[in-house]
Amino acid sequence: MKKSFSALLVLLAVVLLPLAGGTPWVQVARAQMDFSLDEAETDTPPADDAQSDSGADMTFDEGQAEGGEGADFGGGGGDVIGQLAAEDEGAQGATGDAAPRATASQEEVYAVQQVYALRINRVELLPSFAFTVNDPYVSHTALGLGLNYWFTNVLAVGVNFLWYQGLSSESDLNFFVRRSTRLAVPITEWQMGAHLNFTYVPLYGKFSAFNQFIFQWDAYIVGGVGLMRTRPVPVIDPEIRQFSYQMRVAFNVGMGLRVFLSRFLTFFTEFRDYAYLEKFENLEVALGGQRTDASTWFASGSTLVNNTTVQVGFTLFFPFTFEYHLPK
């Protein structure tokens, strides 16, 4: 009976003392909870303790009432995202993030992310479609195929092959100029181009589309030397003159943009200038028997031609998979 009475007194004290101002251990518990919430969810300065106390109490009470997970939530153990967000973002509402954090403690977040797609020691295959943009007389379109070997993550050596023959088209401008001004503009036809080139990636980044998808991309500069097979199209004396393809040494320089669709598949577009010395058709027609002399068909001297080309295509990296050398 005595024990029962003592137990009743203790129980009354436990119930009534909080109403009268709280026992010391209850105050300590509240302080810890308040501290945890402040650290995890708010960035309230010390001067605002009174306000933050009341706000924290309300938030905590709601958490308790909803799921009884106040201990985990308030303790903040393993809630790396929440702490990082709190440090950076300042004061934010706590209720909206409470639900997913119950399972967040087992995950890892890395301060430095790995490069999305390593290129080193991989081979890149580049099928493409190309067209010229600076020639108003003839549109030189081509089908292209390139091959690059990346010996570092930003440097590659490769070859680029373009097939033009049969794909080019002549604009009306040439015909109109001939008819209206009696001037013939010499034009040329291209068969193919094969180029050795080096690629360097100085610029990279990532884009988000509608804040939902992230696309990695890089920009590169490319340059090299190669060969083009071209011949004049007989415009001045087409009844007699026939030209065969000849090799020209061509230098190229350009820049491009590569968007990664996966770790081995990318979309790319490239702007490249192929410069070479071209031999045009002679604008003068020799008289008499010399008209059929092939040595009189070419103009004297060579003309520097800039073939500014846009290439659009896909690239495939081989092997498809790779391993990171360093851990996360």
Binding site: I81, D88, E89, Q92, P100, R101, A104, Q106, E107, V109, Y116, P127, V133, N134, P136, T141, L143, G166, L167, S168, E170, L173, F175, F176, V177, R179, S180, T181, R182, L183, A184, V185, I187, E189, P202, L203, Y204, G205, K206, F207, S208, A209, F210, N211, Q212, F213, I214, F215, W217, V233, V235, D237, P238, F260, L261, S262, R263, F264, V285, L316
Partner: protein
């Protein structure tokens, strides 16, 4: 210089259009059927789990456009010009309803015109005969008969599908976005005035060469660009723009005959040809208010 008239329109042998299309189609099908390719194109296959699952792709992103006014003075130069290259001083004002959609106006004044190499060649070596006197009355004045764009104004919608950042040599990091736009443009044109060779003697034709007429062409305009942000309110923008309309660039008689696509002895609207007029623009972008919002 050859003085003969070439009767053949095309001197360059080409494959039939169907062959080209077949080649392209086969190439596309081959690529698409490759077993090495993934079954679907999607965003990068980053399998996000744990605390990042379901989270937005970017946190604390600077919202450069939403609710802000964009003012952009710029400079543009026309591309692929046949006879006249124009340098255009531009100004753009745009209000962005969301971070990915804006509406605005763009205008430009072509303050500087340069003759292309072809124009210089015609001025130096063009030949006038009785057959082409209407098209080229006097080669020395050829640059005064060519068509020119004088000014442009457009009402346009801008769509910003991609937003991100870029690093230059791993040292310089800037926010950037990619935009496309579409709108209606009004282009102030100056062309050679209409003239008929019927009843017009040599002196009359010579006088007609430098007579000009002005009109406004209404045309669709579209393009794409990249904006790099130097700070909250200042950016650098590069942009390509196309404006599609018909005009007589050369001031010559090229069409109008009822018997086909031949000269009809008159220079008039039948000598206008549809062309996509390109220009490249670089601009300095200012945003108002000067402070950008930051997303969650």
């Amino acid at each position: 210089m050859n003085l003969r008239t070439m009767n053949s329109r095309r001197m360059l042998p080409t494959l039939p259009a169907t062959s080209v299309l077949t080649c392209v189609l086969v190439a596309c099908l081959t690529l698409a059927a490759s077993p090495a390719l993934p079954s679907h194109a999607s965003a990068q296959d980053v399998q996000v789990t744990g605390p990042l699952a379901g989270a937005p792709a970017v946190r604390r992103m600077r919202i450069y456009r939403e609710g802000r006014l964009q003012l952009q003075p710029g400079f543009a130069i026309t591309l692929q010009d046949q006879f006249d290259k124009a340098m255009v001083f531009t100004l753009q004002a745009q209000y962005h309803i969301t971070d990915w959609l804006g509406v605005g106006v763009w205008g430009g004044y072509a303050g500087v015109h340069l003759n292309t190499d072809l124009t210089k060649q015609i001025k130096a070596q063009g030949v006038t005969t009785d057959r082409n006197r209407l098209s080229l009355p006097d080669r020395a004045n050829f640059d005064q008969q060519i068509g020119q764009m004088q000014w442009m104004a457009a009402l346009q919608l801008t769509f910003v599908p991609l937003r991100g950042k870029l690093a230059l040599f791993q040292k310089l990091f800037v926010d950037a976005d990619f935009h496309i736009f579409l709108g209606a443009a009004f282009v102030g044109l100056e062309e050679r005035a209409d003239v008929s060779s019927t009843g017009c003697n040599v002196a009359c034709l010579n006088d007609s060469q430098t007579l000009r007429s002005s009109r406004v062409a209404i045309a669709p305009t579209f393009g794409a660009g990249l904006t790099m942000y130097l700070n909250d309110y200042l950016g650098l923008s590069v942009e390509w723009r196309g404006i599609l309309f018909a005009w007589n660039r050369s001031g010559t008689d090229e069409s109008g005959s009822p018997n086909g696509d031949f000269p009809d002895g008159e220079i008039n609207s039948s000598d206008r040809f549809l062309s996509l007029n390109h220009m490249f623009q670089i601009g300095l972008t200012f945003y108002l208010p000067t402070e950008a919002h930051i997303s969650e």
